[in-house]
Symmetry: C2
Subunit: 488 residues, 2 copies
């Protein structure tokens, strides 16, 4: 691609994206293609000869755009609403062109040090002490995998060299609440602890881990001869965004010498608001914490911020330096700096499984500077308000029922007609139909969960451009389509 073509095609792409970011709401939120439609519409083989950018974009619009579910749509209310913001997209473009590999400090001092700088910014914004060193991973799943890998390293002698398949290790135990994310399950499976090693601790009536139940579980496991390793506490669970009581959980972890990992992937962002800083009370006593700027901080996927007070343990678990990556004595001593521990000058490859690392910090830097902290706080406050507002409509409606408190920006509810006498199974089915009907309109996209066994509709508010009118429209759709349901 010669530079003049690149300029022409690049401008055209900027125009397309500008239009998209402003008017993504002209698309149906949920894709309308049928499975296999896209595969069938594309050739089976790569072309022999070059094709123009225009031809590729034409196919993109014709074949792929109908197959997009628009996560960047202001009426995307499913899972957790996220935002590919304009400054974040620009930074990711620059990052792709620079193609940095921040495995060693020397292979990208800029990416390595900007990672330290931006994670320092975020750490102070959410009120974590400076003792927490940060590293960027792709996803919270990988962050939690590393946290529990470090916990394993801390608790099991010689696990790095000798592994777990040996007779001198008692059954291992990791604890999280019944509401914790599936990434904890995947991490214990991947690390070889086995899914049965995960103990799901009971929650209270607000879906928060019960510290007394945790303490009981640990005690009883020790009596049975098990070795407890770690607790994963959640600040913002996926179903209901419940917030585990970190101070009491930290007490248990302190008493029992367990690694405390805080999964604040979604909820941690709210701690940048003075009104919500308390949700991370107690996190300073954790060993590690994950918060995802790609969730509620307007940063395009993927950027998961992992903080650890014992990064030396993580490095002991995972660092491995072959000859072809070993730096000369001169380079190493330089990168250690005079004090031996200069901030942001380590080799990021030592903090995990992945060797290659994109220049992800660039987009966090662009986003935080382009928005400024004041505006980010205002956006989050708006989302929190909108969730309360939506909840008030649910609460006021005789045929809808709220199913959980709203500590953050997600509302769990269901349709439950006051006058009807449906069985629990029929109510579940009706809500499943209602959700499908709403999503099929293309005007909003919500997802679901199960709460105490009941089908619940989830309304997750968090997109940059979501305004009251979008929330109102979703509510109107729910009301309207639920009436049709009754009349069937």
């Amino acid at each position: 691609m010669d530079p003049s073509d690149f300029r022409r095609d690049g401008y055209a792409l900027v125009d397309w994206i500008a239009e998209y970011l402003e008017h993504s709401d002209r698309f149906p939120v949920l894709a309308r293609v049928v499975p296999g439609e896209i595969v069938a519409a594309l050739p089976e083989d790569a072309p022999e000869d070059p094709e123009s950018f225009g031809a590729i974009m034409a196919d993109f619009e014709r074949v792929l755009v109908p197959g997009l579910t628009h996560w960047n749509h202001p009426s995307f209310f499913a899972y957790f609403a996220i935002t590919g913001s304009a400054p974040g997209a620009l930074a990711d473009f620059l990052s792709a062109a620079l193609n940095q590999q921040a495995m060693l400090w020397a292979t990208s001092p800029a990416a390595t040090e900007l990672e330290a700088v931006t994670l320092g910014w975020l750490r102070r914004l959410i009120g974590l002490p400076d003792a927490f060193e940060g590293v960027i991973y792709d996803t919270a799943s990988i962050s939690t995998l590393h946290a529990l890998g470090a916990a394993r390293e801390a608790a099991v002698p010689d696990v790095r060299t000798r592994g777990l398949a040996r007779s001198d290790i008692p059954p291992l135990r990791v604890y999280c609440s019944q509401e914790a994310h599936s990434s904890v399950d995947k991490a214990v499976i991947a690390l070889g602890l086995g899914h049965h090693a995960l103990s799901r601790v009971a929650v209270d009536d607000q879906f928060r881990m019960r510290p007394d139940a945790l303490a009981d579980a640990v005690r009883s496991d020790r009596l049975r001869g098990c070795l407890p390793l770690a607790v994963v506490a959640s600040v913002g669970t996926t179903s209901t965004t419940s917030i585990d009581p970190l101070p009491a959980i930290a007490d248990v972890c302190g008493d029992e010498r367990l690694w405390l990992h805080v999964d604040a992937a979604y909820g941690g962002a709210a701690a940048i608001l003075p009104s919500h800083a308390h949700i991370l009370d107690g996190a300073a006593r954790a060993d590690s914490l994950v918060v995802n700027p790609h969730k509620w901080l307007f940063t395009p996927f993927d950027l998961s911020a992992f903080y650890c007070r014992r990064m030396d343990v993580l490095r002991a678990a995972f660092a491995f330096v072959p000859d072809y990556l070993r730096q000369s004595a001169a380079a190493s001593s330089a990168s250690q700096g005079p004090s031996g521990a200069l901030h942001g000058t380590g080799n990021l490859m030592d903090t995990g499984v992945q060797l290659g690392r994109r220049f992800r910090a660039l987009k966090l830097w662009f986003v935080l500077r382009s928005f400024g902290v004041r505006a980010m706080r205002a956006h989050l406050a708006r989302h929190l308000d909108l969730a309360q507002q939506f909840a008030s409509w649910v609460d006021a409606h005789p045929d809808f029922e709220r199913l959980a408190p709203i500590p953050l920006s997600v509302v769990c509810f269901r349709w439950k007609p006051a006058t009807d006498t449906l069985t629990p199974v029929q109510i579940d089915q009706a809500n499943e139909q209602l959700l499908a009907a709403v999503n099929q309109t293309g005007q909003a996209y919500l997802s679901h969960t199960r709460i105490r066994g009941r089908f619940a509709i989830r309304m997750a508010i968090g997109h940059l451009r979501t305004e009251e009118r979008h929330v109102r429209q979703a509510w109107d759709l729910l009301c309207h389509l639920s009436r049709q349901l009754t009349n069937k």
Copy 2:
């Protein structure tokens, strides 16, 4: 950012990147900052108020650009040379703006199905049978982790639920050559097998795994009561790009019923050339294979293509579906398709640890179509020729010595003056100094390895815009600076 600002700033960024892609060679390849310099130059806190794109870009140019090591420079010859190409960067920009999450088919049919399409294209280009299903991960390290996780699942009963910490599992064994990549070490550590579970098999005089030594190792481990799980064969090792004899290794794996994973992260790309298709002979009998388009196929980092003939085993190892991600019966049956196994319509979250997945296939699609296969082959052929040419200069020079054959595009060599009587340690030191001196010029960047204990300089050719003049310049520098070394 309003649309007119975005257009203005986007055009400016396109201009910057156009200039960069054309003239990255006006920068020193290796960054010249000292450790801590970037951290010191940036504020400790995020700004309260928004800053303009222009202000951020000015800081980028002032503070960060001097801290870049230019992986996108035609004289980058370290590690493996990679390319953030123009079409790939444009596609990544679009991907960031779309912000797709391909965890379920429904959450991004376009990303899910385009992943199947583009991986199908690549699979046919490198000559793997259609029985290999593909999935995109971020890195080869994560691909290999999943491969060995699947091997563990296949070999150890109930490992998913019961883990490894129990008395009924014999010591586990994984095999790779002495030259295999450190990602294998990290994978066995992460999976809880322990580093001692990794058996490094001897290589022949061309640094290829010896199948007889592999067979001996497996037999003797079985006699000792160990449980062999898997073999990782390399097509293009990191030090010397040696190619393990896949057919003979596949024989051993077939006899011993071991999972065969092929690490072709770098080398696999060469199989798109008819002249080099044979390097994957035998790969059709492997269980899994990884090739990284972000290495030698002009795709910006990160995009690792993982192929597996037994994806059901991988899914059995890692799939876990909580309520909030469970699709309705209707949606699931639709996405299964009439046959129950419609190509490209599964849920990608089931194939690994990571839940969230970027729309990475988009950049591979743009790159393959923009270049066309013919041109990609021509670029790779040029790199292979340039490596031979460089090697011929080394071979012809009395004071340089080549240290390994050149099956692909990397040349390992050292300075070894014919007339001098230096000790082995002095020769190593002199080469370390020579390498540092070359890299300090900023005109080329090479890395090193150790070959049979000796310090070796590595010249890795693979950047899109690397031409003979860049290779020639690096060679001239080496000759010139080695003479200075002699005169000291």
